[in-house]
Amino acid sequence: MRVVLAEDLYLLRTGLEKLLAAHGFDVIEAVDSGPALLDALVRRQPDVAVVDVRLPPTFTDEGLRAAIEARRQVPGLPVLVLSQYVEQLYARELLADRAGAVGYLLKDRVFNDDQFTDAIRTVARGGTVMDPEVVGKLLGRRARDEPVARLTAREREVLALMAEGRSNSAIAQRLSISEKAVSKHSTSIFTKLDLAPSEDDNRRVLAVLAYLNA
């Protein structure tokens, strides 16, 4: 799998390169600035990009802007954005085109390399991965809303994991329940939130996130 990596701190960049290589990814280009990233994304069109939000020259949200711009030029280009902090505002901007194939994770998540590389693969497949912290904030904001309040505690757990972009089997494993139970919960959630049911994992995640972001 061809990966473009954007990270300006040398230590982190080489660390990530090693980690990705160890998990069988092919880092075709590692860049350290916003303009270089945009150029690499549009020119090389990798299977997935792993991008740090804060990049030179402005040291603000250069990476995020470059990623959004690249996806404007190459719709659906898979991008996983990493950051030292997560903002619902940025999550919204990444999700705004509703094309999927985006991820937004705290840098800490790299510590768990299995989950991290799973997330990269999910995004590369067109899936959506949201950091639990973003999802927590989204749910927190909607907690008082009538439909969300109607969910059972278990359903809310399932909803949170779904919003993070996890597959049914991953949710089942995480909650130590059967996959069948998960799909039952998910049907119930979609009914209660008045969402159109969908068998496709990716579309289901997008629907849930769109609902929470509304």
Binding site: V53, R54, T60, D61, R65, I68, Q84, Y85, E87, Q88, L89, Y90, R92, E93, K107, D108, F111, N112, K137, G140, R141, A143, R144
Partner: protein
């Protein structure tokens, strides 16, 4: 008995006007600033005009006047004489100038009410003059009147009296104007110095307290975790050959500890200078705040540029604190944040439909916001009746830089 001279009456009129003027000047509060300086100038003109009256002679021809009163039964009485016997046209002119200037000064210094008073006084003296003149000339006056002493005095003395009164009132007014001006400027400056001293002390205190808090948080948080990390890693290093499973457990623990240290540092950074504020400026940072608020908040943001960084930061934390109060204490179902800029003032308004009763005096974070804003000459206004709604307004004078650059 001497003939009633209108000249004398004018003298007395002017003297009494000057006296009234003088009284009022000391009673009525003086206007500040430019008006006051104008008054000072006017006040200096009065004695100048009077001195002119004294300096230029008594030689020019005099004016005459004639008054005819026709009574109901058909007979008429005519009274006439010199308008200003013994006074030259020049004298009369300067006297008129002096009166006009005195009256303007009077009006400027005193209020409109004082000007009305002057007009009434003038009218009363005019009527009095007409009454006396008619009485005298109709031969209706007999005996000795209390005001006869006035009539016996010479014109010259009257001029001197006017001169004295004018000089006295003018100089006093000028002196008072200068003193008041100086005092006013000084007390204004003193007040500003006091205010700046207080706000600077508050700003320095706040900065110091903030640094202490940071030091403590780092010491008890991230630093302590790094120490634990080192200890655990060393232990894992020892165990790695003899008991690899225990070593693996320790290393996993280390990973957990480093994640916690990161989370703590992240919160700390957010409290120092929120990254989204650094990235996007106040507008988007407030949008992000609004998204994070558990109460549904609408945002109306219209900023044509970016305020200076310290102002952005102060206003951001002020709005954050207010929204925090809304979420925690107000029991509100919704809120509205308005952020805008007009006439050199950055203005934020947070309204909620909660139960009100917010008071900067009772230990909420509002007093802290007020202190922080005061360092920028900013203000916090709270309108929060019991039962709500609450409106909180934050205003900070500042300039905006570079036009807005935003993706949204």
């Amino acid at each position: 008995m001497d003939a009633m001279e209108p000249w004398n009456l004018w003298m007395y009129l002017f003297c009494s006007l000057a006296a009234v003027c003088l009284c009022l000047i000391w009673i009525v509060p003086t206007p500040r600033g430019r008006g006051l300086r104008g008054v000072g100038l006017g006040a200096a003109l009065v004695p100048a005009a009077t001195l002119c009256v004294l300096a230029f002679g008594v030689t020019a021809p005099t004016w005459t006047f004639q008054v005819t009163a026709i009574f109901a039964d058909g007979h008429s009485v005519t009274s006439g004489g010199s308008l200003l016997p013994g006074a030259s046209q020049l004298e009369a002119f300067w006297l008129a100038v002096a009166i006009v200037v005195a009256a303007s000064v009077f009006t400027l210094v005193a209020s409109r009410q004082a000007a009305y008073l002057a007009a009434i006084t003038l009218l009363a003296f005019g009527l009095w003059q007409a009454y006396v003149a008619l009485k005298l000339h109709a031969g209706l006056v007999g005996g000795y009147y209390w005001y006869d002493f006035m009539l016996r005095w010479t014109d010259r003395l009257a001029v001197w009296l006017v001169a004295l009164a004018s000089v006295a009132s003018g100089s006093l007014l000028a002196a008072r104007t200068i003193v008041a001006d100086a005092l006013g400027r000084r007390s204004g400056l003193t007040a500003q110095v006091q205010r700046l001293t207080l706000t600077r002390a508050a700003a320095v205190d706040a900065a110091a307290a903030e640094l202490r808090r940071l030091e403590r948080d780092l010491h008890d948080g991230a630093q302590a975790r790094l120490v634990a990390l080192g200890i655990n890693l060393r232990a894992a290093e020892r165990l790695i050959r003899t008991s690899p499973d225990d070593a693996a457990t320790l290393v996993a623990e280390c990973r957990e500890t480093s994640a916690q240290a990161l989370a703590e540092l992240r919160n700390l950074v957010r409290g120092i200078y929120p990254p989204v504020l650094a990235d996007r400026g106040l507008g988007d940072a407030v949008r992000a705040l609004v998204l994070d608020c558990p109460v549904p908040v609408a945002a109306e943001i219209d900023l044509p540029g970016r305020p200076p960084t310290p102002v952005e930061s102060a206003v951001y934390f002020a709005i954050a604190e207010v929204l925090n109060n809304v979420a925690k204490h107000a029991d509100a179902t919704r809120a509205l944040v308005r952020l805008g800029y007009a006439d050199g003032i950055l203005r934020a308004e947070v309204t909620d439909d909660g139960n009100g009763g917010a008071d900067p005096g009772n230990g909420t974070g509002l007093a802290g916001i007020e202190r922080r804003l005061s360092a920028f000459d900013g203000i916090l206004a709270v309108n929060s009746p019991i039962g709500g709604p609450t409106i909180i307004i934050i205003e900070v004078p500042c300039a905006l830089s570079s036009p807005k650059i935003s993706t949204s």
